[in-house]
């Protein structure tokens, strides 16, 4: 079952006017074989085999992989349906390893397709097909890689996350002290402006030697 070529062309090709007779068979795709209902473990003949390996999948063409993906997808849906039915009745599904094997097969198909895609991208564009990753420094100071997301408009001020580079003692101190200096310069500048504003003519005239008058 696992290694045979699927002939499910009809499922891929969409037909608008499906006859009413086929509906019961269409819905049967969501459920296991009726002989397997209520079993504690599947009979040896009905048991599935192992999952597809990457080596085996690399031998297949893209169309075959595409078709296999949908076979696995439908199988996974069926198994999930059966699993949920068993859970709702507080029972164990027979051979639950089937879900894991299907998942492994699907992951490997994805990996193989990604390999091929990556190769094409690197040949043609020079960049990998993998989603772009950016390093970001978290609030705690740890750097981690995050997948880049596309946006319609540029980021708002101070909303974008960046990587702050790791600095050694001197450089770190230098940054801090420089920032402190800049801060104080700015503060003094603002202060001066304020004082200049509040300065009166009398203050200029009597700037030296005049009696200091305090506002009590």
């Amino acid at each position: 079952m696992w290694r045979s070529f699927p002939s499910l062309v009809s499922s891929v090709v969409r037909s608008q006017n499906a006859p009413a007779i086929r509906f019961s068979s269409t819905m049967k795709q969501f459920f296991d074989d009726e002989a397997n209902f209520g079993k504690a473990e599947l009979r040896p003949k009905n048991r599935p085999g192992r999952s597809w390996t990457e080596e085996e999948l690399r031998l297949k063409s893209n169309s075959d992989l595409h078709k296999l993906w949908y076979v696995c997808l439908k199988e996974r849906n069926m198994l999930i349906t059966m699993k949920k039915a068993h859970i709702s009745r507080a029972r164990n599904m027979p051979n639950p390893e089937r879900i894991d094997r299907v998942q492994e097969s699907m992951d490997r198909i994805e990996a193989v397709v990604h390999e091929r895609n990556d190769a094409v991208f690197k040949l043609e564009t020079g960049e990998s097909a993998a989603p772009r990753k950016r390093t970001i420094t978290s609030f705690a100071g740890f750097t981690y890689k995050k997948q880049a997301i596309e946006h319609y408009s540029p980021p708002e001020a101070s909303k974008k996350e960046y990587e702050t580079p790791y600095l050694d003692d001197d450089a770190y101190m230098m940054q801090k002290l420089w920032q402190e200096k800049e801060f104080m310069k700015n503060r003094d500048r603002l202060d001066d402006e304020k004082r200049r504003e509040t300065r009166t003519e009398d203050m200029d005239r009597f700037k030296r030697g005049a009696p200091r008058v305090f506002n009590r």
Partner: protein, 159 residues
């Protein structure tokens, strides 16, 4: 792969296509009586929470070839385990189950679907009956009706 990568679409771009969809769908039971009873042309699915109504419709139409007419979705919040659920002011959530998304898919008018009865004849029950039957048969063969298995063995009358 493509379902996990949210690529933007802008006018002028070609139609966005997902070649290897990662979504899962499971058929779920619905009650035969009461307020949650559904008509026969309606099937209740539990779907991947990332799916939209359009996604569900396309999925069922193209992959399963079902005559979908209307899709309605409903998100059910997962159960929360509180440390003390009656203390409304200071209770803390210790655990929350995942949210589930259900889709009520209405097919065309002539469609009928009823959830199959899977657990009527359970293998374990049948085997139990068989084992009991075997035991019954064995009784006749092994002279169980006349033998006294509970007799005192190993004691001499003389002693």
């Amino acid at each position: 792969m493509t379902t996990r990568l949210a690529r933007l679409w802008q006018p002028g771009n070609p139609q966005r296509r997902v070649f290897l969809p990662d979504f899962w769908l499971a058929v779920v039971e619905s009650p035969d009586v009461g307020r949650n009873k559904l008509p026969r042309n309606c099937v209740k699915f539990e779907v991947d929470p990332r799916m939209s109504r359009h996604d569900i419709r396309e999925y069922l139409t193209k992959i399963y070839d079902l005559p979908v007419r209307d899709v309605r979705t409903e998100v059910q919040m997962g159960d929360i385990t509180w440390n003390s659920k009656h203390d409304h002011q200071y209770k803390k959530a210790m655990w929350k189950d995942d949210d589930k998304k259900f889709a009520y898919v209405f097919m065309s008018k002539g469609f009928t679907f009823s959830y199959p009865k899977m657990f009527d004849s359970l293998e374990e029950d049948l085997e139990l009956i068989k084992a009991k039957q075997q035991q019954e048969d064995l009784k006749d063969k092994l002279n169980e009706g006349y033998a006294n298995r509970n007799r005192r063995v190993g004691r001499f009358l003389a002693v």
